[in-house]
Structure formats: C-alpha cells, structure tokens
Symmetry: C2
Subunit: 443 residues, 2 copies
C-alpha cells in the first residue's frame, strides 16, 4: 500500500528534466542492480503457459508480484455482457469463466504529478508443434543474450519491465508522486476485451504506456483487425461422383482467392492513408487456420477457415465488415451452384486502428528517457498488427505510448527477446515513471 | 453347419438353366416372403455405427446371423505385419486392435457345383455433421421406398442381401451344392486390408460376388486408389510480418494446384485406357480433409491435407506414387523458399485398378439371373471408385462380380438405398447362388 505519511513539502517538478543527473543515475543503476531478479521473474512468468483460457497461473504470479510491492489489488472476471455494450468489443466466442484481469494500484501520499497506466497482457498465442522449437517453448532459457519462449517478447518481458521499472524508482530513493495502475490483462491476442474491461471498470490516467515488443520504438499508427470464421458448406458425395458433387475445400480455396482480391484493393489505397503510404503491404489478410472434411474418399461437404483481416485507421469495423461480407457474397455467387453457401461470423477482434497524435508531453518525455537509456533518438513507426492501445486512444482520448523491447519470431517458433534491449527499455520506462509522475524522496 | 447327410444321388446340373421355372419361382417367392425380415436385419445393421475402428458391434451382429444359419464361423483380428507382406496392402495408419473379419462358411454334403465367395464390408465412412441430415444417420428409417442411413447402401444392404439370398434358396427347398464363404470384412473404405487378410487366410472359390451399391449394374472396370497425407511446413511469424513469413495454408493451396495439373494430365490420357475413354473425368484427385494453423493472427506454419488419387488399371501403385512425389517436388520448388517443405506419406489405399475380363461363366450367369429379377438386361459400367474386388481379380485371378442395388448419396448426407432395387438384387443373387453352386433338394 502507498505510504501513509504524506510528504507534500518535497514536491519535485513533474518532469524528467526535473530529475538531476544523480537521481537519473541512481534509477538507472537500480535497474541494473535488480536486473537478474527481473530476468528470473520474467522466466517464471514465461513458464506459466498462459494460453487463452489458461491465464490463471500467470495472473496469480502477477497478483503476488503486485502484492509484494504493496499495490492495492483488484482482480475480477471478465463479464461478456458488460463488454458487449462497448462499441470496441470483440466477439466473445469462448467462455470467460475463470478469466480474470489483475490491476495493482499505487497511490502516492499526495498527488503532485500526472497519473499513469502501465498495461500489459499475460495471454499468449499457441505454441505450435514442439518439435519445431529448438527448446521447449515454456523453458524460458537464456542463450547468447536472448531470452527464449512463447510469450517471452509478446509480452512477458514487458510485464516484468513495468514492475521492475517501478521498483528501480523506489530503490533509488523516490516515491512516484501520482497514481499508477499496473494492469495485467487477458484477451489481447484475440479480442482486446481484457483492456476494454479495465476501461469499463473505471481505470483512467493522464497517459498510458504499453511495453509491447516494438523493436525499441514507439508505435505511431496501427491497423484495425477483424477476426471471422468463414464457413463453406454444400452437399457431399462419394468421390466417384466428385465432378457432380460440390467440394467444400476446393470452394474454400476459391473464396480465399476472392478475399485476396479485396486485400489487394485495400493495399492499393495505402497512399491515401497517412503513416501507411510507405509500407509495401500494410493490409494483411491472414488465413490462420483451416479445417474441412472428414474422410479422404468423401467429397468434403464443409470447410471453414479463420480470417484475420486488417483495416486502416479511419475505417470503422462495421464498414470493413460490410465490405468483407460483400466480397464473400461475390465469392459465393462465383461458385456457380445454389447448393453452396458461404457464411461468416465474427469470432474475436472487431477493432479499428488508430494514429497516435504527435507532439504530446508523454511522447516528448519518452523521447528523452529513451535517449538516456539507449543513447540514440526514439524512432516511431507504423505496425500492421493489433494493439490494445487503440482502446485508450479511440475511446478515452489518452496519449498512449506503445514502446518495448527488440524481439524475434513473436507468434513463431523460438520466439525470443533481446536481453540488452529489455534492460534499456526497463531503464527508459523507469525514468519515464519518475518523469511523468514526478517523485518525492521516499518517506 | 452343413447337413451331415450326403445326398449325392440328387445332383442337379450346376447352372441356372438347370433350375426349372417352379424352382426359380419358389426362390423368388422366398425372397419376397422374408423381405420384411431382411429389411429389419439391414436396419439393425445400419444402427450399428461401424465407423473405422468401431466395427465390433456390426461384426457381432453378422457373426450371430451367420451362426443362426448354421455356418462354420471364423473370426480373427487383422494382423498388420502379415498384411504388410502383400503387394496389394494398404498402409496401416491406425491400430488394428479389436478389428476383426468374420467369415461364415457353408459346406455342402457333397460338392457338385462351383464354390462361391460372397463378400461385403461392414465399415462405413464418417457421418459428418448430423444437422446436415434430415434424420439421424443411424436411425435407419424407411420412407417412400428408400432405406436411409450411413452405410445403408455402402454396404449394409448388400451384406443383408448375401445372407437372405442364401436363405431363400434353402427356404425354397434346396441346398446349395458347393462351398460358400460369407465374408464380412473391415477396412474396405480405407485400405482394402480386410479382404486382403481373408485372402491371406486361405479363402478362395471359383467366383466372387460383392454386392456393393452399383446401380443394379456390373462393374466392368475401376480405378486404383492411393491415399496420402501431404504436409506443408515452414517457419511461422506474427501476422504483422506476414509478407516475410511463410504461410503454410497459402502454400498448401499452391500444392493442390500442382496436383490438379497432374490430375488433368492423367485425365487427358483417358482415350488410351479401355473402359475409361468415354468418361469425362475418370481420374479424381480428391482433397478430402485439410487442417492447418492454430491461431487466426499467427501465420500458419503447417498445413496438411488428405489426398485421394485415382490411377488407371495397368499402372501400379508404385508407378503412380512415384509420379505423385515428383509432382509434389515440383510444387515444393515452386514455393520459392528453402524454408518450405512439402512431404507426403501413405496413409491407406495403395491399390491398382482392374478390368473384369468379359465372357466368364459367372458373368453370363449373372446376366440371366439379373434379367429374371429385373426383366431387363444386365449393364456393365466403369466406376471411378475403389472396390475390394481388385484383390480377387489382380492377385487371385478370380471372376469377381461387383453388383448391387441402386443408392443415392453414399458418403454423403441422407445416404439411401432403393428398397425395390434391393429386393430385386437379392432375388438375382439368390438365383445366382442356386445357379453357380448348383442345388440339391434339402436333406
């Protein structure tokens, strides 16, 4: 819990500039001093296989870590009904039974600076066949300066950095002078409904920082994402009558081709979308899963695939969805048989993209802290992936900095995080906390 | 068990012609008289969901039915090792634990005619989603002259016909005058290893009749069939890096397109294959199942599909397999990345096709009995599907008649068998038994 002894007399100016070189040095040194423990904690977190619906163990660990730091704890189960009332909600295709967010709140003795949300997700994407990994994806082993494992970069390194950056400020002899909410959420990899539930619960702040794996850079813009299950169905027959029967797998292949037409159309429009004009292929339609049929010698009667489609900022999910359905109707008509049906349902993300407005105080401060940690200026970039930040930006109007370490193969085999990058990012975040919230000498 | 009282003095000439009109009439009437019971038995058999690996209940029923008829019983579990020694063996991709053939043998008091194998399979293909069926596929309901259900046509109607045709001969006052083996086998829908095991066990005869659903016709020729699992693998990434990563589902689609090139090439050669030249599309490459990926927003790292490929009689399975592998190598090279691999393994059928030589005694006799039952001549045709008959024809040199009732949607939804056709086919088979084996008055 926050100190019970207000020390308003020692107000530090709320800004990194107000930290003198000694204070900065002390914070940076404190990150170094605890870095082995930070790595060990991150490894422990990676060893919790927090696949969707199985996040409880990782959340237990996060809750314990927050409790050890004296934060006020709030852990609650996601409520699909309440989530569904929000325009930014993703479709809930699974049970949320037992799926919880954890928020730990730091309350200063007296509020002198600006409040902050540090947000990260514990859910990770599936690990795939283990034989494709050099080591077990849950081993969290360290080799040649890299921390390996599913979720290592996306984003357990970030979750650890949030807590240990906070520790460093305090170990250096300071207390942040504004409220900080540490949010460990679920559902970032599928709907965004974890962060959305935290917003609905009333958490807000003057800025948000999300340490997603972003190559030591700041995210300037991202795409919206829609998930849908597309199902192709029809009438099967014995393969000896294959040419008369409808083959759902062949039909699904034709439907995918039609979706690629729409994808190409949207990519061709990229010059009209600021921050996307320089990308070769900002709009990716990914067929991430496919399944169909049940017997080699039966003409398959159904095939379904999972579509992940991207959309530019400024296009609503409703607009994109309507266009996708239109394209699927074209595909269905092209199959040339009344027996065949092509249907789609929302299965997760139903999200618009966003552009982070330039010139905020938060961004300026991060530029300074990044330079202090890395010795080079902060670059920003556009990412063609989903991030929960869109919820804070689009619906809360908060300056939201998505900024985190260098990684490789997130969502792939042998996912790994650069340990040197993680150390520097942690330093940058620690200085950011001190600079944004302001500090007082520890009471 | 066969009668213990030899009555060789009453030898009837072994041939349908030898049956006088009264005898014929008596046999035909006996089929009619027992037909309700035949239908009830067939329904009972359909209600056993004898999917692959789950045939035991249906085999129990067949065994009981054979025992009731006094046949000598032989039931044994398939032995993959012994099967594997035969050139016509299919690849064994599952456990054969508990998977049995049942053979019931009739031994005449004295052998005066020609011996016969009546062969059918109890295994059925998967039922698919039940909501696509008008009625539960295991209900075996009867409506408007059709008997419905998975396996109704393929081939439980035929299994019932074998036994009730035999009954009719005896109910009419005759004993067949030669050995008959009633074979109820497994694995016809996947490998052919059930019938192959029966051959290896030493069962043979002067002719074979298999009442598969063949539209009241005789199969003159069929294709060989090969099953293979084709796996496309590579290195996955986050979808934000989709264009740099390898997408196994997109790659699998490209591999399918390459297989279609080979399929078209083989179809273009049909004029060189007797009995196939008049078919539009004798060679079907069916992609019967597909699955790949595990997350909509991960670029899929693997995709595998089940290929069912057909080959003309005269091409060995080895020759076809080599050509398929060659085509897959072309497909792999066309993917244009060393990261991608395309592999294939045999998963079942590895079978050549065959042509039934015209002019056999057995065929001539079936022509007569068919005409007696249907009042129209027997047609023969070429089927682009697999049948176990290839084993008897190619490796045993036996005249093998594949001949059975009119059906619709075998391997599809609402599979059904024409009850009128089944009655006539049963009559034709009853007359065939009497004509081929010869008869003696019942002792």
């Amino acid at each position: 819990m926050p100190s019970a002894d207000p020390t308003s007399s020692t107000l530090a100016d709320a800004g990194a500039a107000a930290l003198d070189e000694t204070a900065r040095r002390a914070i940076l040194d404190a990150v170094d001093a605890a870095f082995d423990r930070q790595l060990a904690f991150t490894q422990e977190l990676i060893r919790e296989p927090s696949l969707r619906g199985r996040e409880a163990g990782a959340q237990d660990l996060m809750e314990r870590a927050m409790a050890e730091r004296g934060l006020e704890l709030d852990r609650w189960q996601l409520d699909p009904e309440e989530i569904g009332t929000h325009v930014g909600a993703g479709a809930v295709a699974i049970s949320y039974e037992g799926m919880t967010n954890v928020v730990g709140s730091y309350e200063p003795a007296e509020t002198l600076g600006r409040s902050l949300i540090l947000n990260g997700h514990v859910d990770v994407v599936p690990d795939g066949p283990h034989e494709q990994w050099a080591r077990n994806p849950w081993d969290a082993h360290i080799e040649d300066g890299w921390l390996y494992g599913r979720g290592s970069g996306d984003m357990k390194a970030g979750l650890g950095a949030m807590l240990f950056a906070f520790d460093a400020v305090r170990a250096a002899g300071f207390d942040p002078a504004a409220r900080i909410h540490f949010q460990s959420v679920v559902e970032e990899e599928s709907t965004g409904n974890g962060t959305l539930a935290a917003i609905q619960r009333g958490y807000t702040a003057d800025a948000v920082l999300i340490p997603e794996p972003e190559e030591d850079m700041l995210v300037r813009a991202n795409v919206g994402v829609i998930w849908a299950k597309v199902r192709v169905g029809g009438t099967p027959t014995h393969v000896r009558e294959m040419t008369s029967g409808f083959n759902a797998i062949d039909a699904a292949i034709a439907v995918v081709a039609q979706l690629r037409v729409l994808e190409a159309e949207w990519n061709a429009e990229r010059s009209r979308h600021p921050h996307f004009e320089h990308l070769d292929h900002p709009i990716n339609f990914n067929i991430g899963q496919i399944s169909g049929g049940d017997w080699p010698s039966s003409v398959p009667a159904w095939c379904e695939f999972e579509l992940r489609a991207a959309l530019y900022p400024g296009m609503t999910a409703d607009e994109a969805w309507a266009r996708i359905l239109e394209q699927l109707a074209i595909a269905e008509a092209a199959l040339g048989t009344a027996d065949a049906t092509v249907t789609a349902e929302k299965t997760g993300f139903y999200a618009e993209g966003y552009v982070l407005e330039e010139g905020s105080d938060a961004e300026r401060l991060l530029g300074e802290t990044h330079e202090a940690a890395f010795g080079s200026p902060l670059d920003s970039f556009t990412t063609p992936g989903y991030i929960d930040s869109r919820l804070f930006v689009l619906y809360e109007g908060l300056p939201t900095l998505v900024y985190g370490p260098k990684t490789e193969q997130i969502h792939g085999y042998d996912e790994r995080t650069s340990i040197d990058s993680l150390r520097r990012v942690t330093k940058s975040i620690a200085l950011f906390i001190a600079g944004w919230c302001g500090v007082t000498p520890r009471g």
